[in-house]
Point group: C2
Chain length 108, copies 2
């Protein structure tokens, strides 16, 4: 997690992406039904917002860029551990909400 030379993202770089709103004001939030397909897209879009290449994200986690590519295009299923690892590296919080539909549950 700790690196020697830190290059903090400049405000100008930020302005390019988030016009007007600054700092704590603007907080991007993605919410969606848990699906494999969407998850990959989300990783990609968060990574983009962090202005990272697949290679950079990979090195934060300790994997090759090809691995990131695979996760983003999810050709495969994913484990929770991987999800946590990726979003932690992206300094992004992940919440899971579980909502029971109705009381009409029935058993055989």
């Amino acid at each position: 997690m700790e690196k020697k030379k830190l290059k903090t993202m400049t405000l100008d770089q930020m302005k390019d992406k988030h016009i007007g709103k600054v700092g704590t004001e603007k907080r991007d939030k993605y919410e969606f039904d848990l699906q494999l397909e969407i998850l990959g897209e989300t990783i990609k879009s968060v990574r983009k917002e962090r202005n990272l290449t697949q290679e950079q994200l990979g090195s934060l986690i300790g994997v090759q860029k090809s691995q990131i590519s695979k996760l983003e295009r999810n050709t495969k299923n994913v484990t929770i551990e991987t999800i946590l690892k990726v979003f932690k590296a992206l300094k992004t919080n992940v919440k899971l909400s579980v909502q029971m539909n109705e009381f009409d549950f029935e058993i055989a």
Copy 2:
């Protein structure tokens, strides 16, 4: 998914668990940071609320009760596919929300 003899959960059974509130009024919702430990507990608590045994839940999915036990006590990591399968059987909706912390992202 389709079974011959359906035994719908009676309202009385429900009242035991959800005092006062009836039907669509009361909807249980669990929300938590995505963590392995909590997830297992959640499966268990939703299953209990559905008044199912591990064996019954297992048969809905097509696995043995021992497998459900392991998921609930999660001795292991879990894949998204498994999460989806379990909660679908429990007629429970699963949402994932992803929130970016700040703009203070830094790269080496």
